[in-house]
Symmetry: D3
Subunit: 215 residues, 6 copies
């Protein structure tokens, strides 16, 4: 039995683009991935709304800096066979980091933290899979546009995700998946995913995860 | 379907008193509790080795101060029906806090954080169940005795857990369970639990959790 | 006798737009408000130059993140009948947060902190009054323009304060006052207030505060 | 008109040893001091329950480390003519610092912070008056004894306050006052003061403060 | 024998603009300065890649906020005769601070910290020399341009360094040197210096340092 | 040419047990070690008075937690061939950690940090040499005894240093040296070293360091 940590933000949490309750357990992508792995792995979901890769955001009670919290989760859930990191959308908020390049650099820091964490004590490090975020879509949701610096900014930067994440994945030698190839956001807020697109990420990850874990 | 957060330390993680690998998934108490609830609840296990209630310990890469990390976990796993807090053993280390009274005060702080967290945004707070740690036993494990200030200190203080935790539970109006009534440590290190005693906590909690959640 | 906490920045402190000494005690708006309440309330002034709502700024020895310091002040001055929050101008500095929308979101976080703080321990929460900052005016003060990202940025964003603050006040159910209706900045630096405009805020708040407190 | 900052803990806050509401405004020592200065000074009260000199205590929502918060208060209330520091009792809790010598060392750090704070920017530093805490008395309050490490510990250490504080005051060249010469705790909890003893500190400080400020 | 602390970033560290190993010890500017002082001073090099003046950047394991680390280095290397501060280039990254004006304000904070640090304990403060960063040059290095917000931003802001640094140096009464008068970056990445330009800073500082230290 | 980082406290700094100025450069042990290595290595001295291994002490302006600062120094001085860690004496202060076992555990954390730091980015880690502190001696210095919990405590714990450090060195596979075999404290304060004993540490380390570095 393999153990997988899914480290993400509201897209991993399963936030409803309509502002309603969290998506059903079955619709969240870690669940869909676990189902697709046919009982050969457990997927631990750690998705925090608003989480950024390695930047601070103190507008919530939870610590949204993914770099500060990750070591705690690695130790709480070890031994791990695979860590899947899908973060970066919140980094696009101008007050957080503001660009896909910074998001990708922050995501790379999470790769480094994971590796250094286990090397420090001589424990075996898990495999790592870096996922660039799904595509945003046009929206008229004023609140969301305010948060993300306007539609032009959001569009221009989100289209750069895959290019930057792929490069960092290659340079660090970890696996890569572009979630925009399987999922796109809901026009109600332009950023969050409906249940079908949320599940699609889990389903889309199955072949690559099987290959990584030799399942 | 109910959702329960199990917030704990190495006893929730499932650390082996012999220094071997983590207890099997089936032997950890959150799993045993979930099994006992017959499919009516999911139990999310967040057990970090060395975690204290509300005191710092920087001798590990993970943040061991349970008060600093809790808000992040509450938001990652909400909506929650019940939060079970079983922490305090590590507080007995003299450099951490050093007494059962302080452990209980720290655990009360976690109750306060949980309530304030959801009240801040007008969300419904989960029920809370405060669990005082299981009984320590005599050991000749020098390393463990060094960590915990010697056997006399460890014995004297751990016997005070239930009294202090019960009082704080009553004063704050949360549920209480004394894990020492169902589980005791393994003499190999005096503090950690063998698989049977680990499972016993989950099994022991079933009736009370059913009552709290109306199952 | 009621107790009111005035939580603010340099405008609450009483900074002189000409760079001179702090405005006289009588000219600061918390004093003017207290005077207008005819001995029925004490107003505790906590105005820190450079304070932002919930964002970091480490260019001063004082901690300017209003979210980190607020719990300490709530406990130092409780029981409180009313907390007046007038912050946000410093958030407009591009390196702090950079927009009225973020300032308003940060101010909402202070509302959440205040409510969660007292709910955590079962204490009665004070009323809350959210004040959107006074209007900035044209200036040729190069230093100030450098700090605030230029006149265009400062103007465009500051004109959005009231709209965003009012919305958050309504959504969270707290009282709202637009300070720009009674006070505008001094052209010497474009942001700070002369004594008359400073007093005007206190005088302007009197009717609403009386209504909130039932005086 | 002079301005005085009274920086303290629950004894400055005016906590009731019987667990009831805060002492009346008129009974708190900063008020008594202000009254004794006959309108020649304003005394700003910043007393936080549980505040220690320069040590952490995360069992409350407020930041209790007096060294971390002091710069913010110095800037919020400057220009100051005098800072009165009366802290140290909470340092006696074994998990905080545990001895009068450490309390005094922490109080000296607050003297250093105050001086460095204003020297950093070339502003004039206020005078400083270091006050060693009032005498504790015998009590049977189990909760309080648990907090403070038992009666023997509390007695032995609190009797050392004046000696250590006086030495640090002399070495740093600040004024010194021993509050135990005018006030002693209430036997209901052994540590906190009744209204009469609280007022006595303010009254007792009047002559020395007048002398320091040349009133 | 005098002691000088060289507090800087990758330009002080001696990073290779071609991405290769660190410049040789002899080529780093603190070494060149020490050599030029003819055995009359030791220069302690503390150059950290990515260090900003007083802003956070959590994308590395090292703490890059120069304001948080400086007190530790001042105490580790005291008594000091001179502190040379050459920081600011990394502040131009949009997610760090984003402008020469903010870089200069952050550098001023380091001047304040140095002065307050020694005044706090009554120790003699060192002289301070504020150095505005060398000139950036055109580059096609995409990675670097991504980090620094593009060539236009990098050019416009870096040309403002000297003006802002000189003003803060004058206002605080510390010495000033414009490194752009002696060194410019390597076109391979537009920001870092080749060995010759690195040495040139040390050589260029010799006359002013001699004058400051009376050598 | 090899590069060695000497990471320590006041014993590495060269504090005078008589309270006078810092020992001469030539008398500090990193200098003596460098001299003994005959020009084949540079030894970078980073000794901070009061530094503990991995525990907080906020009674000074400098950050005394050796675990928080180490990554910054590793990056400032890399590439490194050897890191020598001689810390632990300050951990014996009861409010810091209070025992040789905790000091050794903290020192082990520094070993882990060093290894994880370079593994995170795939850089080559330096060799590590763990040094248990020199012997304390009897003293009548009241201030020092107050700081260190009295002579009995200081003696009992310091005698346990070598045993604990050797065990952790063996378990982590790093080199070990017991400084008490070559140096003992000065009776004027019982903890600090006179120039001869300070130099003796550097001289004593030469053979082992040569062996480690293959010189």
């Amino acid at each position: 039995m393999k153990t997988i940590l899914a480290y993400g933000d509201s897209l991993t949490y399963g936030a409803d683009p309509g502002g309603g309750p969290r998506h059903a357990y079955e619709d969240r992508w870690p669940t869909a991935l676990e189902k697709g792995l046919d009982g050969q792995a457990r997927v631990i979901a750690e998705g925090l709304g608003g989480r950024a890769t390695a930047y601070d955001d103190w507008t919530a009670a939870a610590d949204r800096n993914g770099a500060r919290i990750l070591p705690t989760l690695l130790d709480s859930h070890k031994p791990l066979d695979l860590v899947i990191i899908m973060l970066g959308t919140n980094d696009l908020k101008p007050f957080v980091a503001g660009s896909a390049a910074y998001a990708a650099r922050g995501a790379r820091r999470l790769v480094e933290i994971t590796r250094g964490h286990f090397a420090a004590t001589g424990e075996t490090a898990p495999q790592i899979l870096l996922v660039s975020p799904p595509a945003v879509v046009e929206t008229t949701n004023e609140n969301m546009l305010g948060n993300f610096g306007g539609l032009d900014h959001l569009f221009r930067e989100s289209r750069e995700f895959a290019r930057h994440y792929r490069r960092h994945a290659e340079e660090t030698g970890v696996a890569f998946f572009d979630a925009a190839t399987v999922a796109k956001a809901d026009p109600r807020d332009g950023v969050h995913l409906d249940p079908a697109n949320t599940r699609a990420i889990g389903v889309g990850l199955v072949p690559l995860v099987k290959q990584i874990l030799g399942l």
